[in-house]
């Protein structure tokens, strides 16, 4: 395990493009989180111009709502796609440069190769979760006046939701990389699936004319997005009486995890069967 991770580290430690992409992702994510409130409130201002009763400004950075809010913003498609592209690149590079062949020739088994990529995904998810957790704590402390331990920790399980979301989304992207083996094709098809194919499927299945059940909630990417479906909006709850998600349901994490396991199984099987 440690040996595989060490080999993986050697592959990325001096790989400039990897770090540039990681840096960009980080910049994108943190500026998105820091600007979210400003963007929402300018949208509110915009709407208020047409409304007789103005909607109050939102404050998303206080405990405990911040856990849910930041998890929500960090797991929208546009943000998740970034690390997914990095993972696809790391995997398809091995096929493009035929280094997977050389790894196997030198004595790595195909299972070990797959494990090394899974370890990188796991590590990336852990590191991002820890960083996001620290960021949330810092921002939350700066925006909350009446601090109690229970208030700070109340919705902190949402960070676990972030971990599951990122982990499973990255496994999906890995699946595309291993099956298609080509960088451009994998990125294009994965992006197409996430942004176009699945949303179309979603609205098709959701339409009451097609199915009366909730099968649409079982779509792979949608099931990830449902882990934290909405930001925390106590205002909306009060004003409109909407009953929106308030806590992380661990049950909703099971669907994407099941998909991820299935994909890992398929990748393993294909890797065993197919020539390198």
């Amino acid at each position: 395990m440690i040996k595989l991770l060490q080999i993986e580290f050697r592959k990325i430690l001096t790989y400039k493009i990897f770090w540039i992409l990681v840096g960009l992702y980080f910049l994108f994510l943190s500026s998105g989180i820091l600007l979210a409130e400003f963007i929402i409130n300018s949208m509110v201002d915009d709407t208020n111009r047409h409304l007789p009763i103005p909607v109050p400004h939102v404050n998303i950075y206080f405990f405990p709502s911040i856990w849910q809010n930041i998890t929500f913003f960090a797991t929208i498609r546009y943000v998740l796609i970034f690390p997914a592209i990095i993972i696809i690149m790391l995997i398809t590079n091995e096929f493009t440069y035929k280094t997977i062949r050389q790894n196997v020739i030198n004595g790595m088994s195909k299972a070990e190769f797959l494990n090394s990529k899974l370890l990188i995904i796991l590590l990336m998810s852990v590191v991002m979760t820890v960083l996001l957790g620290i960021g949330t704590l810092i921002i939350g402390f700066a925006h909350t006046s009446d601090l109690t331990i229970s208030l700070v920790l109340e919705k902190s399980t949402f960070i676990l939701g972030y971990f599951i979301s990122l982990l499973t989304f990255l496994v999906y992207s890995m699946f595309f990389g291993f099956i298609l083996r080509n960088t451009g094709l994998s990125i294009a098809l994965f992006t197409l699936y996430v942004f176009i194919i699945e949303p179309i499927l979603y609205y098709f299945l959701k339409s009451p004319l097609v199915f009366k059940n909730s099968i649409y909630t079982y779509l792979p990417v949608n099931s990830i997005l449902r882990i934290s479906e909405y930001p925390s909006m106590p205002v909306l709850k009060k004003v409109m009486g909407l009953n929106l998600q308030d806590s992380l349901s661990l049950g909703s994490c099971c669907i994407p995890l099941a998909y991820a396991l299935l994909m890992i199984g398929i990748v393993f099987w294909v890797l065993k069967k197919k020539d390198l």
């Binding site: 001096t14 020739i105 030198n106």
Partner: protein, 298 residues
Amino acid sequence: METVLSISNISKRYGKIQAVSDLSLKVRQGQVFGILGPNGSGKTTTLSVILDLIKADSGTFRWFGNPPDKESRKRIGSVIESPNFYPYLSPVINMKIVADIKGHGHDDIDRVLRLTGLFDRRNTKFRTFSFGMKQRLAVASALLGNPEVLILDEPTNGLDPQGIAHIRELILMIAGQGTTIIIASHLLDEVQKVCSHVAVLSKGKKLFEGRVSEVLEISDSYELSSADMKILSDAIKTYPAFKSLVATQEKIQVYFASDVDPGELNQFLFQRGVTLTHLSERKRSLEQHFLELLENNK
């Protein structure tokens, strides 16, 4: 001698093309074994099978007497097809990855980089290397940690004459240490210069296998000429070991059934009134043998 690699009845088909057909080989310890064949004869496919990159449709192979696994591959240093390295990493880091996978320390890296003349470029990215340097790095990675077996697929491909000479010297030096070496090549000259044993492949079939020196020792023809070619050709036909001849204007080429001593041949002809103006032994080269074999199997 101990058998390092034994291949039994391996076949591999890609769609309509039979890449390897019922191939069996035995490579013993200390041999420099050449797999010789034109492009597309199944050399790389065979090497890919024995390195677990592709699965054979049928047949088996054994390394060091055991069914193959990743541990046996760690005892083998190999380069297949093109040099495959991470282009955005330096040679040193690429070598460290190889060493880590093989479970070696890193203390051998400087030695193999020096051996292949890449030490000065050890920290520049692989991407910036010329093809020849990439090829030499591939050889360096195969040499890492003194493997028991070295597999080289077209090791001098794309090198300049100096580079070719250098790599061949290196191969001979390593062979001198008792390392078993398997070389796939389409260059006869290469096999002739460095190999002790050879198997000739064509269209996935093994045509011939044996010691390189045995093949080269066959002297099966002599070139003769004399002032009167008519008397010469009549006289030579009475020689006991005579088999056949091909006559041209200036000389005749004579084939014999067994080994012939040129002195005795000369004396025999002189006794029959023929004075030779030209006598030369035509050793059948591996190249001729190779081409003949290919010709016969069309």
